[in-house]
Amino acid sequence: MGDILLEVSGLKKYFNVGRGQVLKAVDGVDFRIRQGDTLGLVGESGCGKSTVGRTITRLYRPTGGTVKFRGKDVFRVSAAESLSLCRDIQMIFQDPYASLNPRMTVSDIIGEALDIHGLARGRKRAEKIEEYLSLVGLNPEHAARFPHEFSGGQRQRIGIARALAVEPSFIVCDEPISALDVSIQAQVVNLLEKLQKELNLTYLFIAHDLSMVKYLSDQVAVMYLGKVVEVAESGELYKNARHPYTKALLSAIPIPDPDVEKERRRIILEGDVPSPINPPVGCRFCGRCPVAQDVCFREEPSLVPVGDDHVAACHAV
């Protein structure tokens, strides 16, 4: 078991949405990621998973809680440390169409990262750019092209090359494949895996696609309405889910096999995710939970160990 690289505890991020209302996008999230591992963060849209990723990369300032990277609080650092943290923690964004500047060539996009950190100049800079382009499987001769000349999958590779150019040790992947076609998704996933092995990277992989998360992750954290409800080693979570929301989420995923589908019993959740502006009192899942008891409507459950490296926040476990 590796050392803990990133530790998130009690992380909160509230947004002011006017009229004195507060949207609690992330409301107390805890997890840890070991060096070299991948933590999958899953949940439905609006559950706060992207906000967690963006807060870790310091695109947002948290309302409360800490994020420790190699034991150091990332929000209490000097300017010099701050720049080196930027090098260490990088991000791959969801939408390969919106996250690349259309007015910059690919070599400028990757080169900008090198320039800011003063990593390479002149001939060495060009060599580095070529090196990273071939690393992500793009033709280095295309460095002078603009993003619109590439397909979605290729653009996502450019985004990955840009993140890798500063030699980070930790990358937040915010739904890097959800905008891509099925046959292209596997190309990008295999690339991410290959890079992880070669460069000893640690990933926080944010996605709503549980089958892909299971495939990629060592550990999985399930979020619901701003809270982590269950964390476990990936195989364990899929075999032995304890939280009723995780169970429902797993059963909602279709399996491409008609025989399996015929046998399967779905847990169909009623209703929709409540608004994070006025989350329910007690357990946030109580209104949709098939096994809710009285206590669930009064008290909020906290994460308790339910097995080896397996925690869940539910009164019923």
Partner: protein
């Protein structure tokens, strides 16, 4: 069983500045009464254009249905006048669109939008229409239908909007329901709700369904037959069992191998399909898939493979299944 829909050799072109895009290049398909069929393919393969052609919703220009026959209950829909077509749309064929956020009218209450379909096609009194609206909302599982009917789409969540769309599509008990990526913009738990609802409705009302999707996973539970589309053509068709257990076109096989299964115990390597779909401005000669195919032969680049039967009802367009070829390779 009777065939409710039979499409033969449908071709649809779009004129763009860059040239003519051959979006659909000869699609043949049929649908039996009460059957649910899925058309699966990646973006740009022509699956939505096929669906819109059935409803004659292709904007002309730039689009044009250049060839083909669309027999619906024995009538060729392509020969109908716009007036006659209006009677088919909504009454005989209902359609659910991909994006429930943009395909509902934001300035009308949901109830009125459903009522509009009824007013258009059925001569009912105002009271009966209201009653029927509420019935429909109840049918698709919207709680509080009386109150919900007076609300605007923005007051509905994504899943609820899709339910309202389904209610609209079902308002006149159509014989055929076309669902164009009905769950793509929804979360998995909501997707499960909607798929369950469609299954239930098919069982209750015995509507024929064409489900268009890029997600091979969701079709396994609902559809008995699956058609796989690639570059404007159907490359493989067969029962769900045949297709999942014995995929015979390299593209179908590639699709199935390119995403992980939730229930797999050990970690199998994903095998992506190399390259990307061809440009339909200038589709490749021969088989459209050969530049990405790991088993391409010389003939694949020269000649287009015909549809070949693998077993009863299971066909694939691939030279691998050509009888003459098998003799040589033995």
């Amino acid at each position: 069983m009777d065939k409710i829909l039979e499409i033969s050799d449908l071709k649809v072109n779009f004129s763009t500045y860059a040239g003519v895009v051959q979006a659909v290049r000869g699609v043949n398909l049929y649908l039996e009464k009460g059957e649910a069929v899925a058309i699966v393919g990646e973006s740009g393969c022509g699956k939505s254009v096929t669906a819109q052609s059935i409803m004659r919703l292709i904007p002309e220009p730039p689009g044009k249905i250049v060839a083909g026959r669309l027999l619906f209950n024995g009538r060729d829909l392509l020969k109908l006048s716009e007036k006659e077509m209006e009677k088919v749309r909504g009454r005989e064929i209902g359609m659910i669109f991909q994006d429930p956020m943009t395909s509902l009218n934001p300035t009308m209450t949901t109830g009125r939008q459903i009522a509009e379909v009824l007013v258009k096609h059925q001569s009912l009194s105002g009271k009966t229409i209201n009653k029927r609206c509420i019935e429909l909302l109840k049918l698709v599982g919207i709680p509080n239908p009386e109150k919900r009917a007076d609300q605007y789409p923005h007051e509905f969540s994504g899943g609820m909007r899709q339910r309202a769309m389904i209610a609209m599509a079902l308002a006149c008990n159509p014989q055929l329901l076309i669902a164009d990526e009905p769950t793509t913009s929804l979360d998995v738990t909501i997707q499960a709700q909607i798929m369950e609802l469609m299954k239930e409705l098919q069982f209750k009302l015995s509507t024929s369904i064409i489900l268009i999707t890029h997600d091979l996973g969701i079709v396994a539970g609902l559809c008995s037959r699956i058609l796989v589309m690639y570059a404007g053509k159907i490359v493989e068709e067969g029962t769900a069992d045949a297709l999942f257990h014995n995929p015979s076109h390299p593209y179908t096989r590639g699709l199935l191998k390119s995403f992980p299964r939730l229930d797999s115990v050990k970690k199998e390597e994903l095998t992506p399909i190399a390259g990307r779909p061809p440009d339909l401005l200038a589709p490749p000669r021969g088989c459209a898939f050969w530049p990405r195919c790991d088993r391409a032969m010389q003939i694949c680049a020269r000649e287009e493979p015909p549809s070949m039967e693998i077993s009863t009802g299971h066909r694939a367009n691939c030279w691998m299944h050509y009888d003459g070829l098998k003799e040589v390779s033995l």
